[in-house]
């Protein structure tokens, strides 16, 4: 059991160096791994790092080159935390970062799936834009609240690519009730520098800055079996309620209260059935189309009635 683990890690290291064109001695690596992991009880990730550093020094490989070698994987392959990988993915959605230690947070996707990503402020990496595709090099997989995510750290690299990465082809349709609308919905203010949502005129990154208005609803769609977190942008909100940003501003001005917009949206959307077409990623549903459900089909009711065999 223990030796299987050593063998697995050894193979990973050997493979990685082979890809960069270096032959390394598997026996020597296993020996050192056994010493570090079994004798000295060093955590696996530290042991691997130590051995890679040693090999890099032995073979005189520049550190950067070695770091660039995290294997290119697809999002569906990410199942374990603590793996260094590279991904080609499109930024599907950016969320508000609530912590100053997080530069950006949101969802990225490729044709095999969608996953949450976090760019740590400490990483000092460039910011990404929604809808653009990037190569995320040397990001580390992690598990947070029971779900997989990837973290962009100091040793990672983000390169914009020309390719338009496709999202999972299967679009799902969910009919569910909008059972909750979060407080940071309605007429919100975004930072004019980074477009993050601001709370009370303060951007989590840039502090007290000029903001601009936006309209959105963050909510929970529930079909009685599953819950989906959804974000409705101005266009979606307008399609459902007829309220656009201008109308929202007018409501806020007339009532002398920006919160009036949220109350109005709650009154018109909460407890309603929505038909949402979109792409599913984890507990999120990326909205492509949204409309109110129009009543119930007579044929469906009759069919169900037949099923009630009494």
């Amino acid at each position: 059991m223990k030796d299987e683990r050593i063998e697995r890690i050894t193979n990973q290291i050997v493979e990685q160096f082979k890809r960069s064109g270096y032959e390394v001695d598997a026996k020597e690596i296993s020996k050192r791994l056994r010493l570090l992991i079994h004798e000295f009880k060093v955590p696996e990730s530290e042991a691997v790092k130590t051995i890679k550093n040693w090999l890099a020094k032995e073979l005189d490989i520049p550190r950067e080159k070695l770091l660039a070698e995290a294997p290119l994987v697809k999002i569906a392959d990410i199942t374990k935390p603590g793996q260094w990988v590279s991904l080609k993915a499109k930024v599907v959605q950016l969320w508000d970062s609530t912590s100053p230690s997080v530069s950006q947070v949101g969802l990225i996707g490729d044709e095999t799936g969608i996953i949450k990503f976090v760019i740590w402020a400490k990483s000092g990496k460039r910011e990404v834009e929604e809808g653009k595709s990037y190569l995320f090099r040397n990001v580390v997989t992690d598990s947070f609240q029971g779900r997989m995510q990837v973290n962009v750290t100091r040793t990672s690299d983000i390169v914009e690519i020309d390719e338009d990465i496709q999202l999972p082809p299967r679009e799902i349709e969910v009919v569910g009730a909008l059972v909750a609308i979060q407080q940071n919905s309605g007429l919100i203010q975004r930072c004019s520098i980074c477009r993050r949502a601001m709370a009370k005129g303060v951007c989590p990154v840039h502090g007290k800055v000029e903001g601009y208005d936006d309209l959105r609803v963050k909510g929970v769609l529930d079909d009685g079996e599953n819950v989906y977190e959804i974000i409705l942008n101005e266009e979606n909100v307008k399609a459902l309620t007829g309220m656009d940003l201008e109308k929202a501003k007018k409501i806020a001005a007339e009532r002398l209260d920006r919160g009036a917009v949220l109350s109005e949206l709650k009154a018109r959307l909460l407890g309603r059935y929505l038909k949402v077409g979109g792409t599913r990623g984890g507990r999120y549903l990326i909205v492509n189309r949204v409309e109110f459900l129009k009543g119930v089909d007579r044929k469906d009711v009759e069919k169900l009635m037949e099923e009630v065999a009494v």
Partner: protein, 225 residues
Amino acid sequence: MNFRKREVARRIFSYEFNRSTYRIQPEEDKAPVYVLTPLGMRCNRVFVVGALLDKEEVKPDSGVWRIRVADPTGAFRGYVGRFQTDALDSLMEIEPPELVAIVAKVRVIERDGRLFPALRPESISVVDSETRDYWIYETSKRTLERIRRMEEKADEDCKLAWQIYNPNLNEFRQVVKQALATLLEEFELVGEKEEEFEEKEEFEELEEELEFEEEEWDLTDILGE
């Protein structure tokens, strides 16, 4: 921080809900409390659409309001207190009777050794009849699925429900039938009127069994957050 997945809002008719008295005690602290229904479903949160029949302050100036919401199979009871600000705000604006959609937590209240399920609403909103119709359809569908699973004794919760409630599944089928009939009536379909009439009488009797003095309830269970 211990972060939990949001509880799904289950679709359930008042007929099944009002007979759900068995609490599944959480295995660890702060885990959600579930109520087991006679058809073997665990629920912690529900989504209900029906007619708000009345709202009444339990005692003058208590800030606690008792509501009754009817679906085609009976009526839900619920209590809205000052901790349920969103629900209370909207409730104050609504004059019954009115069609409402309610997202609520499920509570079981104990009184004189008897247990009564009640709603503790998180949000209440006025909706149209199309929303109500779809809810009846959807809830019928889910209820039939549960009946099927009970027949198959599909999982541990179904087995537990058999043990605790020993439900008469035909009774629940009748309830679904009755609910669906109200939809078909709307489509101006002539149904089996006589049979329906008999069913209705039967349900009224069953409802009576459940009546009790609500004023005497110990409300501490539902009012805390």
